[in-house]
Amino acid sequence: MNSSRVKPAMNPEADRAAAGAPMQGGAQGFSSLRRARLFRFTFEPRLKKSSFVVGWTKDTGAVSPLAADHLIKASGSNGFCQIEPADFYPVGGVGVIDDVARFPQSRFFYSERNPVVILRADEPQSNRYEFLNAVLDLAEHYGKTDLREPSQAEALYTINGIAAVTAHTTPRRVFAVFTDAATQRKLQERVPANANWQGPPHVSTYLLWLAGQRHLPGVSLWVEVPFYLSDYEDYPSVKAAVSLLSTMLGWDLDLGEMDRLAAEQNEKLARLEDDPQIAEKLRALEEGQSLDREEQMELIEAVGSVLKGSP
């Protein structure tokens, strides 16, 4: 993958933004977006036929944020836009986590050379319909193959972890949900397992459904995370997500860092085998057996002790 930095296209608005002035909308650019008032652009990239990747801040096994962060870093993406938070998050104060003030974020990054737009966002707490449609407005805007054409994004991708009754010693499976049968046919061979589910929809599924309503092709990728790693950063799952997504995007990413982090995690988890009873539970999971609630709690506790220090 080319690692040279992206040089922004020349235009007065971009230069103004580069000099620190917020942009107010260009003649042919984002001001034409239906929900332009919801965006705060600092730079307007000129992209065509971009794919669009969504990563949420909170996720099972931290798959979504870590995969998005890795893609942003690896693709040399730069931030260019945010969604104004007031309509979608509580903004009456700031939360403090690990001694640092936190504020809701929904930041878009872009890479021209790939090309891709990546959203790294907290899940909206209210007006989700409006928020998700704003995201899709941007996906459509940068997915056009030609600015004069009303065509659509190359594809929308969401990434998530999903808790599963599996052992960390088994390969992480990835399930997919598609917007439509045509997209499914096009991408199926790369994601062999189709998801089945009935119940309340995750925000990624809601976004995917809205994309489908707008005839935007999209796929949600769901990576299995062993249930006892749900509250930790599960690097093998993150690697599975990044690896699959980079293949689908046609990127050749260096996954060395991911391999190192996954190996470190597995090394810590290998200590679980020192306890014969815990080892027996892991063997049961490897063989596809389930554990009762008490056994699950014992495993979670044991994992907590070996991953001490992990978030």
Partner: protein, 285 residues
């Protein structure tokens, strides 16, 4: 137009839904849910989203000999006050466009009534000019006539907001609230008795004979369920003695004697009863 939304005991929803079924009123439109509600359920099969379900707000119509009737059944109320106002405005846009001259909303009033008693219907019009009319409905009561209260009160949710927005637009509206025992307000089952009372009033207003046998059957079943639950709670000594005695007084039609206990204690008792009922199923109604 008759409107019923989900709420305490599902009184309004059951009343208007039953009327719709009895009249076989066909659906003619709905309010798009996306701006108001979150999706409640998705069905994904073999990697494709087959269905995304949202709470519905559906309009139905029926032609009577002397008038046309619009019915609105809402599966959920917007959680946000601003959204509730927007929805009320949208409902009235439809009502005005179709020449609707009177709005009725159906809801519940929580009060000191025993579950074996026939619920009355509290009637609140949005203009003083309707006061004399609503007094004639039968089995109705005005706020000022309710025991231990004055003529002031609050109708929360869309049943109230709709009255207010209609008032601002000069459309007559009346809210009809069937009485629900205070100790059942958090119970996980419907309270069809109150829906029956509301429907009896509506049938009277519309001069419509209504066969409410289905609702009566359901009300009988619910009453048995309530008795069994209360007996079980009393046997398990989870029903405070004072509450049990108060219920007995209510059963005999006597005014509740909350005696020397303070308002704070009364609130705690009510909360305790709510908790007991919530514990029955682990769900709220």
């Amino acid at each position: 137009m008759l409107c019923g939304w989900v709420g305490i005991g599902n009184v309004g929803l059951a009343a208007v839904s039953t009327l719709r079924r009895l009249l076989r009123a066909p659906e003619f439109g709905e309010i798009e849910p996306y701006e108001y509600f979150e999706p409640s359920r998705v069905v994904i099969r073999n990697g494709l989203i087959r269905q995304m379900r949202f709470p519905s707000t559906t309009f139905y119509s029926h032609r009577l000999p002397d008038r046309d009737l619009l019915l609105l059944v809402g599966e959920q109320q917007p959680a946000d006050e601003g959204k509730a106002y927007e929805m009320a405005s949208q409902v009235l846009d439809v009502a005005e466009r179709l020449g609707c001259r009177r709005i009725y909303t159906a809801a519940a009033s929580v009060t000191t009534i025993h579950h074996t008693a026939r619920p009355r219907v509290w009637a609140v019009p949005n203009t003083p000019a309707l006061l004399s009319e609503v007094r004639r409905y039968g089995n109705t009561i005005l706020m000022s006539e309710v025991d231990n209260t004055n003529s002031d009160g609050l109708i929360s949710g869309l049943n109230g907001v709709l009255l207010g927005v209609a008032k601002n637009r000069g459309i007559e509206a009346v809210c009809l609230m069937g009485e629900v025992p205070y100790y059942l307000q958090a119970a996980p089952w419907p309270y069809p008795k109150a829906s029956i009372s509301v429907l009896e009033v509506l049938g009277n207003i519309l001069r419509l004979p209504l066969d409410l046998s289905e609702l009566h059957e359901m009300a009988a079943k619910v009453e048995v369920n309530i008795e069994q639950t209360l007996d079980a709670l009393a046997t398990a000594e989870e029903l405070p003695e004072q509450v049990r005695m108060e219920m007995e007084r209510l059963r005999k039609g006597q005014p509740p004697d909350i005696g020397p206990i303070t308002e704070q204690e009364k609130r705690e008792i009510l909360e305790h009863i709510d908790e007991l009922f919530k514990g029955e199923t682990g769900n709220e109604s």
